[in-house]
């Protein structure tokens, strides 16, 4: 397991000006950091020989709805070497929905980011193939945003016609 202290010293040493915060809850480490620094921090966490967070387990987002900074992008990464998990939280400013892609760091991030884009409308700058994952290509909304109604927008997805049936 990687301790919060170790992670703190390592990050302080590598990024002296980074405004981050490490918290621990029930043996789960969380690192909150500004969205602008996400790629360099991820690259460091993956390549540093003592940390080696080589696996990107999941990328998702949180829609805080009425908060001033509306979206948070959440990354769950795993280090086989230390058998250790880490959660990264990148807060986006205001109603901004853009963040840099980490698909250059982990290949797996490609599809995770596509899913996050599909569901939350987060746009990942520099993503090689930012298409929808689950919903139809011509769908206009992002259903996990809090202002999307549960039953959807009527007639937003057309159904086939029922004309020539008996």
């Amino acid at each position: 397991m990687i301790s919060a202290e170790l992670l703190n010293t390592k990050l302080k040493e590598q990024f002296p000006e980074l405004d981050f915060e490490i918290s621990e809850f029930r043996d789960e480490l969380t690192l909150a950091l500004p969205a602008n620094n996400i790629v360099e921090v991820c690259k460091y966490l993956k390549t540093n020989p003592e940390l080696e967070f080589i696996m990107c387990m999941d990328i998702t987002a949180i829609d805080w709805s009425r908060r001033k900074d509306r979206f948070t992008v959440v990354y769950n990464i795993f280090s086989f070497k230390n058998n250790s998990r880490l959660r990264l939280k990148a807060n986006l400013k205001n109603t901004d929905n853009k963040i840099d892609t980490v698909s250059s760091v982990w290949e797996a991030a490609n599809w995770h980011e596509r899913e996050t884009f599909d569901m939350y409308g987060i746009e990942f700058n520099g993503h090689p193939d930012l298409r929808r994952m689950y919903l139809p290509e011509d769908f206009e909304y992002h259903p996990l945003q809090k202002d999307f109604p549960l039953m959807g927008i009527p007639d937003s997805i057309p159904l086939p016609k029922k004309e020539n049936d008996r």
Binding site: P149, G152, I153, I157, L159, P160, K162, N164
Partner: protein
């Protein structure tokens, strides 16, 4: 015995073409297994030796719509899947029938949400709704037997003015 008792003089008997065709159709219904989610597991169980759909002449599950006359829509139909189901239905030759298997196909079931079609009768002509979540295999057999009754009552006049569906041919090279 059934047929023999009708054969009196020189083995002739009189009937209507509708009755004869209906009898032939209902005894070998070829299903299109439109297995989309968990109901498909129960549909597969119907094909196994325990329940054995072959007893009712429907063991030939065809995986091409062009050889089928009964579509069993088994599972949750999402809005994204609906055009696919409809396209496969359009490719089936007439006469054709549809069983809506399970709660999801009838009403969306537990999925009261934006992505699931709340009843496939919005885009398909459904002949029979089969309740259950999922329905047990014997329930599906019962649906097939009920369906056979309906099939045997089919009249040629029903198809007199039927228009051919327009298929959108998409060619990708």
């Amino acid at each position: 015995m059934g047929l023999e008792s009708l054969l009196k003089d020189n083995g002739f008997f009189t009937t209507t073409v509708d009755a004869l065709a209906g009898w032939a159709r209902k005894s070998s219904v070829w299903p299109m297994p439109m297995g989309i989610s968990c109901c498909a597991i129960e549909m597969m169980a119907v094909g196994d030796p325990k329940y054995d759909i072959a007893r009712f002449g429907s063991e030939v599950m065809r995986f091409t719509p062009r050889q089928c006359d009964l579509m069993i829509v088994a599972g949750t139909v999402t809005y994204k899947m609906a055009p696919v189901v409809r396209k496969i239905y359009d490719q089936m030759p007439e006469p054709k029938w549809v069983i809506a298997m399970g709660a999801c196909t009838a009403s969306g079931g537990i999925y009261r949400t934006y992505s699931v079609v709340q009843g496939i009768d919005q885009f398909l002509p459904v002949d029979l709704y089969l309740a259950g979540c999922p329905p047990r295999p014997d329930n599906l057999l019962n649906a097939l037997i009920t369906m056979q009754d309906k099939i045997s009552r089919t009249k040629a006049a029903d198809f007199k003015n039927a228009k051919l569906p327009e298929l959108n041919v998409i060619q990708k090279n």
